[in-house]
Symmetry: C4
Subunit: 240 residues, 4 copies
C-alpha cells in the first residue's frame, strides 16, 4: 500500500466515495461511519465530522489523534463513537480502515445465539468460527448507554475483535476492519449479504459453512468498486 500513489489525499478520496457507496448500498443509514489511517502519521486517522455518510464531502473530513481526539476541531461536531475507530486502529497495525454500521440484516445475529460465520465464498473473511459479539454490558454492566464513546469501551471492543475482520455489537451493529478503504467497504457489504443468506438458510435446515481451508483463500478482488462508484456518481448527477 505504501507506494507513491498511496497518499493521505488518495485515502481521503476513497473515504468519501466509500461513505457514499455504503449509504447507497443500505449498509450505512444516517448514523454509521468510515475511517482511514493517515499515511504520513499512522497513529492518526481521518473521518467525517458528524454528518450522514451519504452527504459527506471533502470539507467534512477531520483528522483525529491516537486518543480519537480532533487535531483541529474548529467547532465542528464529531461522531460520539469515533473511539471505535481509534482503538481498533491502535490495536491493529495491519488495519488501515474501519467501518461501523447498523446493518439491519446483521443486527439479528447480534441479539441471538445464532452463529454468524462465512456461509458464502465472497464473505470468506468472516472466518470458519462464529464472529465474536461485543456486549457493552460486559464492560459497563447493565447500566450503560449502548454506545462506544470512550477509549475504554473502544479498547474493549478492539479486544473482542482480536485478529478478526468483523465483530458484532449486541443490539447495535458491527465493526469491520480491513487493509484499505476499498476492502473495508467490500467486507461491510458482503457481511450484510452473508447475513441475509444465513438468515434464510437457518429457516431451511442446518447450513454447511465454509471450512477452515476455504476461508483462508485470498481476499476477493475489488472489481465491484468501479460499478459502485458509477452508481453513486449517477445518483449525484440526478440531483443537479
Amino acid at each position: 500500500m505504501n507506494d507513491d500513489s498511496d497518499t493521505d489525499e488518495s485515502r481521503i478520496a476513497d473515504l468519501i466515495v466509500g461513505n457514499h457507496i455504503l449509504a447507497n448500498q443500505g449498509v450505512l443509514d444516517g448514523f454509521g461511519h468510515v475511517s482511514v489511517r493517515s499515511v504520513t502519521n499512522p497513529r492518526h486517522f481521518y473521518m467525517a465530522r458528524s454528518r450522514a455518510p451519504g452527504l459527506v464531502n471533502r470539507d467534512d473530513i477531520m483528522e483525529f489523534d491516537e486518543r480519537s481526539e480532533p487535531v483541529d476541531q474548529r467547532g465542528r461536531k464529531m461522531y460520539g463513537e469515533r473511539y471505535i475507530h481509534g482503538e481498533i486502529l491502535a490495536a491493529r497495525p495491519d488495519v488501515q480502515s474501519v467501518v461501523h454500521s447498523h446493518s439491519p440484516d446483521v443486527l439479528p445475529f447480534t441479539v441471538t445465539k445464532a452463529p454468524f460465520q462465512a456461509l458464502i465464498h465472497m464473505a470468506a473473511f468472516l472466518g470458519s468460527t462464529p464472529a465474536p459479539v461485543f456486549d457493552i454490558r460486559d464492560v459497563l454492566g447493565d447500566d450503560n448507554k449502548m454506545l462506544v464513546t470512550t477509549n475504554q469501551t473502544g479498547a474493549a471492543l478492539a479486544k473482542v475483535l482480536g485478529t478478526r475482520s468483523v465483530a458484532l455489537m449486541r443490539g447495535h451493529g458491527m465493526a469491520v476492519a480491513a487493509a484499505d478503504v476499498k476492502f473495508a467497504v467490500l467486507r461491510a457489504i458482503y457481511t450484510q449479504r452473508n447475513a441475509r443468506v444465513e438468515a434464510l438458510a437457518l429457516g431451511m435446515g442446518e447450513p454447511v459453512f465454509l471450512n477452515a481451508y476455504e476461508v483462508d483463500r485470498i481476499d476477493p478482488v475489488d472489481r465491484p468498486w468501479e460499478e459502485w462508484t458509477d452508481q453513486v456518481a449517477r445518483a449525484s448527477d440526478r440531483s443537479l
Copy 2:
C-alpha cells in the same frame, strides 16, 4: 422548543418535509398521516387535507381544533382518522407531533402475541416492555369498522398509549408520539427498523432486548434529517 425560531410556519415546514420523508422511506403509504401541535394555540394542530403524504404541500395544510374538527374547512376533504392525532395531543402535553402509519414491517406485531420492544439502540424509545396494542374490539366490540373516526375511539387509543412513544393498532398499524416533527419521523422510521430486525431475530432464537437502563438513554440526535430531506429534494427534482 418554544424559542423564537419555533413558529407555526416552521412547524408546518417540517410537517411537509416529514410527510415526504415518511413516504420516501416506505413508512407511509397513500393512507397514513402526520400532525403537529400549534405553537400559538396549543389546543389546535395542523395536518394535511385528505391526500397521499408524498404529495402534500403548503396549500394542503389545515388547522384542527381540540375536538379534531376543522377551523376553516372550505370544502376540503379530511382524513377520517384525524381523531388519532387530536386525542393523543389532548392527552399528552409533552407531545408535539404524531404519526399514524400502516408500516408493513410493524403490522405482524399487531396481530400476534410476539412482544414488540426495543431490540436495537436506535429504537430505545420503544421501551423495555412490550409496546401496548390497541384493539378497537375492546371499545366497540366485534361489530366495528377498524377505524378510529371518533373522539371516543381516539381517546381510547390515547389511553392505551399512556406515557409511551408508540402504540400498535391491531390489524391496522401504529401511532407514534414525539416532542417535535423531526423526532416523530425518526421514531416512526426506527420503529419500522426495529420490527424488521425483531422479525428476523425471532426466527433465530430468543432475542436479548434492551434493558430498563439502556432504554432510558437520551433520544438519538436528528442527524439523518438532513440526508432524508436531501433525498426527497432529489426525488422531486427528478420530476421536473
Copy 3:
C-alpha cells in the same frame, strides 16, 4: 359508474395508467395483465396486446368479445390467458375490471395450505374466510400446461372465484376483481401487502384475522391513485 364521464375512453385511460402503476409497484412483472369492461358494449372488454404492462400505451389496447376473442386483431399478438378476464367478466356483472398477477408475495399462499384472508384493514375485501385456490389439475388433471388459455378453464376459475374479490391460482398467481380499474389496482396492491404481513405473522404465532363484521366495511377510498399516477409519470419523465 354509468355517469357521463364514464366512457370507454376514460376506462381505457385508467387501464393504461393501471398497467403502469402495477408494474411500478412490483405486482405485475412482464407477464400479468389488466382488463376493463366496455361501457358501450358490456359483453366486451379492453386489454393490451401481448406486451409487458409497464410499456403498454393507447395503441396497444385491443377489444375482445364475450368469448375473449379479438374484435379486430390486425395481426397483433395476444395474451394467451385472456380467458381469465373474459370468463370472470361474463360470470360477474358486478365486476368491471380484472387483474391477473404473479405477485411473488402471494405465490407462497397458492402452494401451501396456509389460509390467506384479511389480516390488515386495507385488505378487508379479502374476506374473513380463506381465499379460494384454483388448481388447474382439478379441471385438466395432472397432464396440464398450468395456463388458463381456454374458455373452459377460464370458466372453471370464475366458478372458484364465485362472489369473492380474489382467487389464488396454484403455482401461478391470482385473479382480482373489482368495480372499476382503480379499485382493481388498489386491491391487487393491498392483496400483495396482506400477503407480506401474513407471511411474517405466521412465523410469529397465530394471527388474529379480521372478523366477519370488519370485512363488511366499505371499500377504502382511492386516495393513493393520485400518488401512484404521479410516480409513474416521474419514472416516465426520467426516460426523456
Copy 4:
C-alpha cells in the same frame, strides 16, 4: 437460431444488454458473468473481460476457445471462473448461453438440504426433481478455494449439471444454461423468483411443486425482454 439474423454481432449485442439487465434485476452483483457461443466458430464463446456486468460494453467483449483460453488477450484481465462457461458449452451442444450468478435468494438452497425445484410455472425449466448441487469439495477435497478456475473443475460442474437447466453451487451461487442469451437471462431471473417464493413457502408448510407433466410445457415467451431493455436504457439515460 441459425438464421441470417443470428450472427456473432447480434449475439454480442444481446450479451451486453443481458449483462445490464441481470445487474439491474439484482441477479448479478459485481462478480457474476454471462457468455454466448459463437455462431461462426461454435467451439468458441464470447464473454466480457473482468469487469462488473453493469458496466460491460462492446469494447469489453473477448473471444475464448474450447479450453476457455483467450484468442487474443491483449493484456486484458479475465474472469478467473470462465471455465464454468467453456466446460458447460463444450458438454452441451444444445446450450448457446450460460449465466453464473451469486443470486442472494438462491444461495440458501445451495447450503441446506431443502430441495430446490419448480414451484411456480414461470420456472418450469427447473424441473420436477431437486436441482443438482455442485460441491467443489467432491472434486478437490476440503482444501479448496471455492472457485471453478480450471478445466477440471469446470468439467465436474458440467457433469453435475447434466441435461438440466440450472445447477446450484454450494456456498457460491448457480450456473444457468439456455438456448440463447434472452432465455438464459429469463431463466436466471425466474430461478431467483422461484427461490424467493420457495423460501417463504417452506416456512408455511409442505409446498405443492409442479409435476413432471407441468414442467415439460414449453418455455415461456421472452415478453419481458423489451421492458427490461427499456429499464436499463432509462437507467443509462439518467447518468447523462
